[in-house]
């Protein structure tokens, strides 16, 4: 026969479990909502998902904690590097991140700490822990009252410092755990710092630091320091191949070109040419970079003047057999604007040959007829 005390304990345990369940259910709903919000705010890049999945699969195979999180990686389009995970398993990485990293190890070492943060938040020592500085409210209010408010600022500063210190310690813990997972999966964790340095260099060159953790200069510097002070074994080992339908090299290049296309339409800055130069440096000049460079030269004009340089750049672009037919059409417009009817007609005719099924074929045929008169 249970005593009243035992009964009370059982009831308290049941209430606690219920409340815990409710809180957990609420946290899951919040994560679901956040996921829906992110997918609404950012366009997806499905072409990168299989690559991300292969990174996550390798991490999961090597570490049961990662496997237990049932991660669902998704790539989202953004010029800036971003990566974050949610407690419902959603893992986001931006095209701006993948466009700037050079190896699978770098990608794994940048993603793993983000996953580790979510994992740690769910552990007993961190779950539902009150925030630093939130305690002793009565004492603090009393102190503020007796000092007529003078104590408010130093107290707030002290609380903020304590919070930042605890936050830094937590992130370092996550970095360490993430690198342990990456090492367990067979990756060279010295690539972690190399990846972050690469982001810093790229964003500096592009004058494009931002507010997200992986785009903010200060945060990236802190990350470098954190990685340097983890005691995860760093050994140079051969790069471990991943089973992805697309390599990071090809994916990164494709996404970098996407960033350039977006930059070309966004503003009159020099970022497109900075990125084009970097791509040409790291791999040889190509049809894509020559053609986007032509567009950059054309777009650099504020008004309508079509420079000889723009025409030359376009001629260089369309000389590549694999150039997109649209560039032939654009060359035709440039020549038309400069009053070179024959050159314009030739460019449009080449467009019709190269893109016989394009949506605007009837319109371009009209141009050729007009120019033939």
């Amino acid at each position: 026969m249970r005593s009243n005390g035992d009964k009370l304990r059982i009831i308290a345990w049941m209430v606690g479990m219920m409340l815990g369940g409710i809180i957990q259910a609420r946290a899951d709903v919040d994560a679901d909502r956040n996921e829906a919000r992110i997918l609404k705010e950012y366009e997806s890049e499905p072409a990168a998902n299989p690559y991300l999945q292969s990174i996550v699969s390798m991490l999961s195979e090597a570490s049961p904690e990662v496997a237990g999180m049932a991660l669902r990686p998704k790539a989202i389009k953004s010029q800036l590097p971003m990566a974050f995970a949610l407690s419902n398993g959603a893992l986001f990485a931006s095209t701006g991140l993948l466009a700037r990293l050079k190896s699978d190890a770098q990608v794994a070492c940048v993603l793993a700490p983000e996953i580790a943060e979510v994992f740690l938040h769910q552990q007993p020592q961190y779950k539902n822990k009150p925030a630093v500085g939130s305690g002793n409210l009565v004492g603090k209010l009393l102190l503020i009252t007796v000092t007529a408010g003078l104590a408010a600022v130093p107290l707030a500063n002290s609380d903020r410092e304590a919070y930042e210190k605890e936050q830094a310690a937590f992130e370092h813990e996550a970095d360490k755990l993430g690198l342990q997972w990456a090492a367990a999966a067979g990756w060279d964790t010295s690539e972690a710092s190399a990846g972050i340095r690469r982001l810093v260099d790229a964003l500096s060159e592009e004058h494009r630091f931002g507010m997200t953790d992986l785009a903010n200069k200060e945060r990236l510097t802190q990350k470098l320091a954190s990685f340097a002070s983890t005691d995860v074994e760093k050994k140079v080992i051969p790069a471990r191949p991943i089973s992805s339908p697309v390599s990071l090299n090809d994916l990164s290049r494709k996404l970098a070109l996407q960033v350039i296309v977006k930059d070309l339409s966004d503003s009159g800055s020099e970022r497109p040419v900075i990125l084009l130069n970097r791509l040409d440096r790291e791999s040889a000049p190509s049809v894509e970079t020559d053609c986007l460079r032509a567009r950059y030269v054309r777009n650099s004009a504020v008004g309508s003047e079509v420079s000889e340089a723009a025409v030359v750049a376009y001629e260089k672009c369309v000389a590549w057999p694999a150039s997109n037919p649209d560039f032939l059409k654009e060359l035709g417009f440039l020549q038309q604007y400069r009053g070179n009817a024959q050159a314009a007609k030739a460019a449009f005719e080449r467009y019709l040959l190269k893109a016989p099924n394009a949506a605007d074929v009837p319109i371009v045929k009209g141009y050729v007829e007009e120019l033939s008169k």
Partner: protein, 543 residues
């Protein structure tokens, strides 16, 4: 006189002089002693290039047709009015402007060359064709008219904060109660209301693009309010009364083109000049704003209930279709249908399930090509004919007297203080529970303000064998968005801002009582007698 006394008086005088000088310095208006900050070109709306570069290099532009939101329908006179104003102010700024006719003719010609940009079977816009049409028509416009750029002007809606009875947004100011501003300053002083919140507004955007399609200038100007604050509620201004006030249209164009007609320095120094800072212009000089009115509830019946019940004894009922990209699981659709059957059982109708009716209708619509390939407009007669033929196609033993079409769709609704009431349903956007009653009800001064959120409604459309509308109604199901309230505490006061956040798909359609209530609200005017309906809508209070 005593020397020491003289000395004391002298010192006192010096002290008084010193103190009064210090006081006058302390009381001096600091603004008048400082130069006003000159706004940057970027803050004035110039992107990627300076104002001087844009003005020097973009001299000849064409204006594209002014774009209005779709629900305005055909308002060509309003478009022409706005176009004339935009051209006037751009010419004042030194631009040479070609009117929109040339672009329209190029666009129409190329649209025909392409065979239209809408799919005639579905009305869907063909994205590739649309892209090709726009790119080519703009290119030819630039080339033929030797342009340096082109201008886009469009009307947009949004919401803005109001406080002390006035809304100030995008360079303009309006009374939130929609009344004419008194000309007397004394009357205006006593007329001030200590109310705050959010109010929907309509504004003008003017953008200048270079020949490569890059925006080099963009700025907005507020036009007018879309709703006014009444007693404990907002009253909407009917759409056909909006954008009719030429003075307010001109004010918006002035604001949107101000950095083009005036230099940054003129704008900075003109802060007190009502012709430059239009928030300081006298509202009482503008025409009285258009009146608003409470939304009138229209009858859901095509004719009337008695006539319908006399006519209809056997009905065919479709599956629950889903619109607006909603994901509604099969079991939820089945729950809606079951609830419909339960409601209709009160009428004693002979009900026949025709789960494939929607598929048949879609096939008929595709076959009939009811959409104009050039404009995307739907031919209503062809649609009616398609609906009419569905009953024949169903090949039922006994032809029903009417067809009931059911669907669940997304809708946009207004929240007031976080509370939403729509299509007979209510839900709090803040905690997703029922709307607060009593003290907290309808708190338009509440921190959540007012605004728009998306929701779902269950729709019923009943048509007879000739596709005549017999009954059409909707019942609100639940909110698709929750309001995330952020409160800002400053110096003893607090202001809030409620932002709609999408609810997760896993949360939706979980509450069976909401499903049943939505069906009941959609059908109650049909299945209940007028007396029963009145008793439900106006319950007598218990003594």
């Amino acid at each position: 006189m005593n020397k020491s006394r003289n000395g004391r008086i002298g010192k006192m005088g010096m002290a008084i002089l010193l103190v009064s000088s210090l006081m006058s310095l302390a009381w001096a208006d600091p603004v008048k002693t400082k130069e006003p900050p000159i706004p940057s070109d970027e803050s004035l709306g110039f992107f990627g290039n300076s104002r001087d570069e844009v003005i020097a290099q973009i001299k000849r532009v064409a204006l594209l047709p002014v774009m209005l939101p779709g629900h305005f329908g055909d308002r060509s006179e309003t478009q022409q009015q706005i176009e004339a104003l935009v051209i006037r102010y751009l010419e004042q700024a030194g631009f040479s402007v070609i009117a929109s006719d040339h672009y329209k003719s190029l666009y129409d010609k190329m649209n025909v060359q392409l065979g239209g940009i809408y799919d005639p079977t579905t009305g869907e816009l063909k994205a590739e064709q649309m892209k090709a049409l726009r790119a080519n028509s703009l290119q030819q416009l630039v080339m033929q008219d030797r342009l340096n750029g082109y201008v886009v002007a469009r009307i947009v809606t949004d919401s803005t904060r109001y406080s002390y009875g006035y809304a100030q947004w995008l360079g303009v100011r309006e009374r939130v109660d929609g009344k004419q501003e008194p000309s007397s300053a004394v009357e205006r002083f006593f007329d001030t209301q200590s109310v705050s919140g959010n109010v929907p507004v309509i504004s003008l955007v003017v953008q200048i693009f270079n020949t490569q399609g890059r925006v080099v200038y963009g700025r907005l100007g507020g036009i007018q309010l879309l709703a006014y604050l009444g007693v404990n509620e907002f009253l909407d201004v009917p759409t056909d009364r909006l954008l009719r006030d030429s003075a307010r249209l001109e004010r918006a164009v002035q604001v949107a083109t101000m950095p083009l007609t005036h230099t940054p320095s003129q704008i900075a120094y003109g802060d007190d000049d009502p012709s430059i800072n239009l928030t300081k212009s006298e509202l009482w000089k503008l025409p009285e704003p258009p009146s608003a009115e409470k939304e009138k509830k229209t009858s859901p019946f095509g004719t009337n209930r008695d006539q319908m019940l006399a006519q209809v004894h056997r009905v065919a009922i479709s599956r629950v279709a889903v619109g607006g990209g909603l994901a509604v699981p099969e079991e939820v659709r089945a729950a809606f249908l079951s609830s419909v059957r339960q409601e209709l059982s009160k009428l004693g109708w002979d009900v026949v399930d025709v789960p494939n009716a929607h598929e048949i209708l879609i096939d008929k619509i595709h076959g009939a090509k009811i959409f104009d390939p050039y404009t995307g407009k739907r031919n209503e007669q062809l649609l009616n004919d398609a609906r009419k033929s569905v009953l024949d196609e169903l090949k039922l033993d006994k032809k029903p007297d009417a067809m009931i079409w059911l669907s669940v769709k997304k809708t946009v609704v207004q929240h007031k203080g976080g509370d939403v009431e729509w299509d007979g349903a209510n839900q709090s956007g803040l905690d997703l529970g029922p709307v607060r009653q009593g003290f907290w009800k309808g708190s338009f001064n509440g921190m959540a303000g007012n605004g728009a959120v998306s929701a779902t409604s269950f729709n019923v459309f009943v048509a007879d064998a000739d596709s005549n509308r017999l009954y059409e109604s909707a019942g609100g199901v639940e909110l698709l968005q929750k309001l995330d309230l952020k409160v800002d505490y400053r110096y003893g006061s607090q202001t809030g801002r409620a932002t709609p956040v999408d609810r997760a798909p896993s949360e939706l359609f979980q509450d069976a009582s909401r499903i049943n209530a939505s069906v009941h609200n959609a059908l109650r005017e049909l299945v209940m007698t007028p007396e029963e309906l009145d008793a439900e809508l106006h319950p007598k209070k218990k003594k």
